[in-house]
Symmetry: C2
Subunit: 230 residues, 2 copies
DNA sequence: TAGTGGTCTAGACCACTCA
DNA sequence: GAGTGGTCTAGACCACTAT
């Protein structure tokens, strides 16, 4: 009876795919048939298959049936934690320093990203994140003060802009880009690295309800790695 | 009362969180209560909330209720496609070249990763992936021939090892690491880049049913970016 | 121990899409 | 037009855990 849980059935079906019972791209039996085979309700099969579809293992189409994904695209889910938590997870003491704070009209690239009218002022913030007083990451950020005016009064020496935003504007959406760059003079200096060092970068722009909030680049110190399961 | 779809309700609840109706870390009403409020079955509320929990927006505990996640960890889901598809998605012609193919005992680091007994031979493969005959990525790989003996007879000049493995051993699990490194002499040469260039690396080890299949590092050409939504 | 989420069921209807 | 997945419901029981 416990073999009727959608988890169990999902794993059972995955096994049958992995053992090659159904080849890549092949149609697998319909929900009704599987429900009959496993002796459970169709709803349960549905959940199991939706889970597999969500993981990219199968593709489902109404009337088209369910088939094994013929070009399995590996999906990896990453957690992008607040820097302070990363540092503390390493057992180090976190501290941050705001190295620049100005209000001015951003360069056009940033202006476009934030969807601002030309000449609109924004808040530019550079922050160095420290682990045990050694540089851990360097952050350059522009904040759309029109969307989040309250940030001008935030105590950014006590709480990093990132955390302040997370607490104030939670669950905004946006996009992320990962890449590698050679450290320029400014980044190298902030991180205490040599110029030209390979640095891992997270570039992120977030918005809420269609309004852009902030855009930032986070340069991690050398050797940083981002882990995930797949 | 209006729309009873779990998508709609999920969005409605998310809105109520984003507008601050429920603060970070705060308990939100139980399923039964929400079901009553929205005039739908508890099952429907359950689906909506499970979705939000899956996205890290809320945390749910039996008896503890559902509360807004107080330290929102941004989650990003990435697709890691087969290199050929990446190249073709750019509108370029894909080709690959196997630059090294030897069977020998791997260094201890690789031996441990693949869970091999000391001295066990493995297949080492270096591959250059080309886009319009220009280097796109450089791959170094070790394959556990005990787990996948058939690869010794695979036509790896026609199909890349990656694709052959994907088709032969689909949906294996494993882990991924992203990082940035300065190109060494070999990588620089393979990619046609200068030594020391910042290179984006995907390091991946996959296994199936507890047996390690393969481990590889994929070095992308300069300027490569990995995109995602959050 | 009581309360909350987790899940299964049986039945129903709908929406999409392939032929 | 017909077949398949998508979803909602009402009810039931279970499993976990906070108090």
């Amino acid at each position: 009876m416990s073999s009727h849980s959608h988890h169990t059935i999902r794993q059972a079906i995955l096994d049958r795919i992995q053992t090659g019972e159904w080849a890549l791209g092949e149609l697998i039996p319909g929900e009704a048939m599987l429900a009959d085979e496993y002796g459970c309700a169709r709803t349960t099969i549905n959940r199991a298959l939706q889970g597999l579809a969500n993981d990219g293992v199968v593709i489902r189409k109404r009337k088209g049936g369910t088939r094994v994904c013929d070009m399995p695209v590996r999906q990896a889910k990453f957690n992008i934690p607040v820097v302070r938590e990363q540092v503390e997870a390493l057992g180090s003491v976190y501290r941050h320093q705001v190295t620049r704070r100005v209000e001015k009209a951003p360069p056009t690239a940033v202006q476009k990203r934030l969807g601002l009218a030309p000449g609109t002022k924004s808040l530019q913030l550079d922050t160095v994140h420290l682990a045990d007083d050694r540089p851990f990451a360097f952050e350059t950020r522009w904040v759309n003060t029109r969307a989040v005016p309250a940030i001008l009064d935030a105590p950014l020496d006590e709480i990093s802009a990132n955390e302040w935003l997370v607490q104030t504007v939670p669950f905004s959406s946006g996009d992320v880009v990962f890449c590698a760059v050679n450290a320029g003079k400014d980044v190298a200096e902030a991180l205490g690295a040599r110029e030209g060092a390979a640095v891992f970068v997270i570039d992120r722009t977030t918005s809420l309800a269609g309004e852009f909030i902030t855009t930032m680049q986070l340069y991690y110190r050398e050797g940083y790695q981002l882990h995930s399961q797949l």
